[in-house]
């Protein structure tokens, strides 16, 4: 494995762990979503980085080139990004509604208010 590959994996793992940590450790609903987004970004990198062939070009067939990078991961990740955007939009929309309903976006506060309401 070349250095580039190792580096990309290292970054992938870093982002993955960092994102997941944020999701778990943060109480703020928005920050959790940020963590989730970082976590998802790691996946994009996981797919995209290995598709890059050293010296490869975009896969437009031409006599000048003989090495092409794989286009498939890009397509997949384009889809994944769309899914990610949709998730984020929905997540934020729900957070807005939660804020309207509870007046806070701190998870423990929300739980407290539910408990008080009971």
């Amino acid at each position: 494995m070349n250095q580039f590959g190792a580096l990309s994996y290292a970054i992938t793992v870093f982002l993955m762990v960092a994102g997941l940590y944020i999701v778990i450790a943060r109480n703020n609903l928005i920050k959790t979503l940020v963590g989730l987004s970082i976590f998802q970004t790691a996946v994009y990198l996981l797919y995209i980085a290995p598709a890059k062939l050293p010296g490869g070009t975009a896969p437009v067939i031409s006599a000048e080139f003989d090495a092409y990078s794989s286009p498939l991961p890009h397509v997949l990740i384009l889809t994944a990004i769309v899914v990610g955007v949709a998730t984020m939009a929905l997540g934020l929309a729900i957070v807005v509604r939660i804020y309207e309903a509870y007046g806070t976006i701190e998870e423990d506060e929300i739980l407290n208010r539910d408990r008080e309401a009971r």
Binding site: A58, L78, A89, L92, A93, V96, E100
Partner: protein, 138 residues
């Protein structure tokens, strides 16, 4: 919303170019980098910009919410219709090659309509999201 003259003038100048660029990305998507996803977002950006500068009500006049919502559904329908056309014309679902005389023609035609559908839906969704968030009183 904003009475700043510079902003108004700059947006007025920018918007046509943004839309034009969106159309370029949309229809050149077959030959180079681009396509419906990107074009849809770019086009929506033009409207969002208009809305930010001139206010939501002005934007609602330009792009009524009902139209936007129709776009969301219509784009997907267009996509699926192309797919079903493949079946109707004797091929498989989303089989473009049966859409035209020669397979290559059909593939051009198919991807054109599919990407158009994607573009319409994406810009519709983007605008809808904008409306939903911007329309709320904090």
């Amino acid at each position: 919303m904003s009475d700043d003259l510079i902003l108004r003038v700059v947006t007025k100048i920018l918007i046509p170019f943004i839309v034009l660029f969106a159309l370029y990305v949309q229809f050149h998507g077959e030959y180079g980098p681009g396509g419906g996803f990107q074009a849809g977002v770019v086009a929506a950006a033009a409207f969002v910009l208009y809305g930010l500068v001139n206010g939501l009500d002005a934007l609602r006049r330009v792009a009524p919410e009902s139209v936007v919502e129709t776009m969301v559904g219509a784009g997907v329908l267009l996509y699926i219709a192309v797919g079903l056309a493949g079946i109707v014309l004797g091929g498989h679902y989303l089989d473009y090659s049966v859409l035209g005389g020669a397979p290559v023609d059909g593939q051009h035609r198919g991807i054109f309509w599919v990407e158009l559908g994607v573009g319409i839906t994406v810009s519709g969704v983007m605008l809808k999201v904008f409306y939903l968030f911007a329309g709320r009183r904090a």
